[in-house]
């Protein structure tokens, strides 16, 4: 016999309220609903994405946690038991989507931010200038200027920089993992907000070429859609070594998702699996990375090159090597970073938190006197403007948001991205689902999010009595730890509250 995994959720349709319009049947992309004289839900299929709840015109649907009880055991929570039952059934690897969902301590939540009282005045960002402009890229040790007839002139030009009007960028998520409409929304929002989005490793769809000045194109281990025009179409090129959600693991976009558009963009036949190897097979060591960095620079007339890595144990030494290999940006992805699909065990048990990795990397680069040679982008668990502020104070030049951006597009964090059934049209290639996401509507929501967070960051800066984000960057003196142990504080370079 089969042991059926118990349903996680219980869907309740209020039959008195229900007018039998069957919109829930259309809405649910997981096939929960059937109609036999009345709407009948199948609890086993529900993922609690809440699309039906949002679209039901009568507010007749509620979704609850399943009240089914198994005998409690402190060492065997229900999820672990379900995992075993599932694998005993299939012999497969457990898959999941989005970021690590085990209850590790969240270091950001143990950090608090300073504010001015008496000895220096706080600044009102609604009435005084407050500057968030940020430049990503390699900075020389010093600038050479002169005054010619009383006018300031630059004697040596700087390497190219990516100009951001707010220190938040959209994390790279591929066309393939995301729908084209989701990509369009990100590109439009990046343009209007003065920031950038990343293509991820799925290449760049022809419709998005016009957003080049707000695009970072990616070159990952599968090399999908990588060609000369592609490399030159963005403001920078990102070499993706690893991803916070699955350090050391490659990617696999199943053949059923490879339709005509993805086939064209990725330059692979329709219906074939798109396999990204775990390593780059031309990068088996740091000197190989250097060769790829400079090959890309040669191919792009020296655009900035970003190297994205997952945060792992020796992240500081690795980042130092990456900077010395010539990278202009180091993109650090913490273990809470999201993914379209990853083995659950890897997602939940490999890697380290962004807060600690970021602090260690910033310290290491400063110790070596090379912090100015590369910008640091922190990602993987940035949930609010407060997290952005804390990350910047720990040393990040900018933060990247992936999950938060998807939430803005309607995602409810059901973590079923890998199924291709995204009811919100974000993480799917099914035309009947992707058409649910209007790129302009999505772009508006993303812009709103960035505007709201940027205002909040300005409020933080004003309270701190500074009027530019550079004065917070790396200023760990403005953070204090609450409830963090001494060793963690030492690594963060942050004093405990009260000191």
């Amino acid at each position: 016999m089969n042991i059926v995994n118990p349903p996680e959720f219980r869907v309740k349709v209020d039959q008195e309220k229900c007018r039998k319009c069957k919109r829930c049947l259309q809405s649910c992309s997981f096939g929960v609903y059937e109609f036999h004289d009345r709407v009948i839900p199948d609890n086993n299929k529900c993922v609690a994405c809440n699309r039906c709840v949002q679209t039901c015109p009568e507010d007749a649907i509620t979704i609850n946690e399943s009240p089914n009880v198994y005998k409690d055991h402190p060492n065997w929570n229900l999820q672990l038991r379900k995992n075993v039952w599932k694998q005993a059934e299939t012999g497969g690897v457990l898959l999941t989507g989005m970021g690590n969902n085990l209850p590790y301590p969240i270091v950001f939540d143990g950090l608090v931010v300073d504010a001015c009282q008496v000895t220096n005045p706080s600044i009102d960002p609604l009435r005084e200038p407050m500057e968030l402009r940020t430049f990503l890229g390699r900075k020389p040790d010093k600038v050479s200027v002169e005054y010619v007839n009383g006018k300031l002139r630059l004697k040596e030009k700087l390497p190219p920089q990516i100009r951001l009007e707010t220190p938040i960028i959209f994390a790279p998520m591929s066309f393939g993992a995301l729908s084209l409409n989701a990509h369009k929304a990100l590109a439009m929002a990046a343009k209007d907000s003065g920031t950038v989005y990343g293509t991820g490793e799925g290449g760049l769809h022809a419709d998005l070429l016009e957003y080049g000045p707000w695009t970072i194109v990616q070159c990952a281990s599968g090399r999908f859609g990588v060609h000369s025009e592609y490399l030159n179409s963005g403001v920078a090129v990102e070499i993706k070594i690893g991803q916070g959600a699955k350090p050391g693991i490659g990617g696999h976009l199943p053949g059923e998702k490879i339709g005509q558009e993805i086939s064209k963009t990725r330059m692979i036949p329709i219906g074939t699996d798109a396999l990204s190897p775990a390593p780059h097979h031309d990068i088996y060591s740091i000197e190989d990375l250097r060769q790829l960095i400079y090959a890309i620079k040669e191919a792009t007339n020296y655009k900035p090159v970003s190297v994205k890595i997952a945060c792992v144990h020796n992240v500081a030494a690795i980042a130092s090597g990456i900077v010395r290999a010539g990278a202009d940006i180091v993109y650090l992805d913490g273990f809470k970073g999201g993914t379209g699909a990853a083995p659950t065990m890897i997602r939940d048990h490999v890697g380290i938190p962004i807060e600690l990795a970021l602090a260690a990397v910033d310290d290491q680069l400063r110790k070596e006197g090379i912090r100015n040679q590369a910008s640091i982008v922190a990602a993987g668990g940035i949930r609010s403007s407060a997290d952005v502020v804390k990350a910047i104070a720990l040393g990040a030049d900018a933060c990247a948001i992936g999950t938060a951006a998807l939430l803005a597009l309607g995602c409810s964090l059901c973590q079923k991205c890998y199924t291709g059934n995204c009811a919100w049209g974000i993480c799917t290639q099914k035309p009947e689902l992707t058409r649910r996401l209007d790129p302009e509507w999505g772009a508006m929501r993303l812009k709103n999010l960035l505007r709201g967070w940027s205002h909040e960051i300005k409020e933080f800066l004003g309270a701190l009595g500074v009027n530019s984000v550079e004065s917070l960057r790396g200023s760990r003196e403005r953070l204090r730890g609450v409830g963090l142990d001494a060793q963690t504080l030492e690594i963060l370079g942050v004093k405990p509250a009260g000191r």
Partner: protein
């Protein structure tokens, strides 16, 4: 990397003057000016800097060194600190003269550290041993860093040529009396009255802060201290004195002496123009401003301040980018005055030709006439 330092905070009053014709006046003048702003301090720190005071030793670096306990550090045998320091000086520099700094005990300043001064030159053999590209100034800076960082209880508080800083715990007028500054003649004077809020004042923490011939008095709090400090650490500076004014001193040393920026460009780093203004500049100027900001963003001094910089050839005053501290300038004949309050200037020169409040972030730069000093 030391993350556990504590920072001093303080509010203050300041006053300065420069005779552009090089005429030297006694310390009694600036004493009168700063004394008027008595209430801007709380007796926890006062100090003065003067240029042109050691004409007989003008080719020698004048080291003012105090041997004193440091707050938060274990007690130290100060005579031992002195011996250790003097042995280090003898070994690395040519010491022409070492003597006590003359002082007068008053009921206002009753106890004081061991205060010594040394007139020194760099020895060519020692300089050569440091390897290629090291200047005499670099050598002096590394000597100062070594003593302040490595010898407990010893603090170099002045190290320029033909200039000196005089400072301590007390009101500045009392400190001026203690050092008998009426006996010194200088063409530039600055003075500082300190109001620390979170520490017992200590002698090393009073203003001015100096490095080589740069002296700085500062009213304000550098809210960007945390990153300014970490930025400087990358270039080998050791923050021994726990005050934000120290980072101001080192930032100017880095930008002007080591990176060769024009002083005006360095001031623009410290109080950067806003992007809204940069965006409206002609392309070439905009490009230069952008570059300074991109590379030196970590050296931006953010938070309220009014600062006076003295150096061998002039005096500079500057406010923060939104003028959160008072700062007034005035002229009379060949003299330029700068102070926290106009009253402090009128106290010593009632008949001024021009008085103005400099705009936020716009420096007042006064140079000595050519051929003077």
């Amino acid at each position: 990397m030391d993350h556990w330092w504590q920072k001093d905070m303080s509010g203050c009053g300041l006053s300065g003057l420069i005779n552009t014709d090089g005429a030297r006046v006694s310390g009694a003048v600036i004493r009168k000016s700063i004394a008027l702003m008595h209430d801007r301090g709380n007796g926890q720190g006062g100090g003065l800097a003067a240029y042109g005071i050691y004409p007989d030793h003008k080719d020698y670096y004048a080291f003012h060194i105090m041997y004193t306990e440091e707050p938060g550090k274990p007690a130290r045998d100060l005579e031992l600190a002195q011996k250790e320091t003097e042995a280090y000086l003898d070994k690395n520099l040519a010491v022409k003269l070492g003597e006590d700094i003359p002082v007068k005990i008053t009921d206002k300043v009753r106890s004081h550290p061991i205060l010594r001064r040394y007139f020194v030159k760099v020895r060519p053999d020692k300089l050569a041993a440091q390897g290629f590209g090291m200047s005499e100034d670099d050598f002096i800076v590394s000597t100062v860093m070594h003593i302040n960082d490595k010898i407990d209880g010893a603090f170099v508080f002045s190290s320029g040529k033909n200039m000196g800083a005089f400072k301590g715990v007390g009101f500045p007028e009392d400190i001026a009396d203690f050092y008998m500054l009426e006996n010194y003649q200088g063409y530039i004077w600055t003075a500082h009255n300190r109001f620390p809020t979170n520490t017992q004042g200590w002698w090393g923490g009073a203003h001015p802060f100096t490095l080589l011939d740069w002296s700085i008095v500062h009213n304000g709090e550098i809210s960007s201290y945390g990153i300014n400090r970490r930025y400087l650490e990358m270039f080998g500076y050791k923050m021994a004195l726990h005050t934000d004014t120290e980072v101001v001193t080192y930032i100017f040393d880095l930008l002007v002496r080591r990176h060769g920026l024009p002083v005006q460009a360095a001031l623009q780093v410290a109080a950067a123009p806003f992007w809204k203004d940069v965006d409206r500049m002609p392309p070439e100027e905009k490009e230069a401003c952008e570059a300074l900001r991109m590379v030196y963003g970590s050296a931006l001094l953010n938070g309220p301040f009014a600062i006076l910089f003295g150096h061998t050839h002039g005096l500079i005053g500057i406010n923060d980018r939104i003028k959160l501290r008072p700062f007034v300038a005035a002229t009379k004949g060949k003299t330029v005055y700068m102070a926290s309050e106009e009253s402090a200037i009128r106290e010593i020169e009632p008949d001024l030709e021009k008085v103005w409040a400099p705009r936020a972030g716009h420096p007042v730069m006064v140079e000595l006439d050519k051929g003077v000093a």
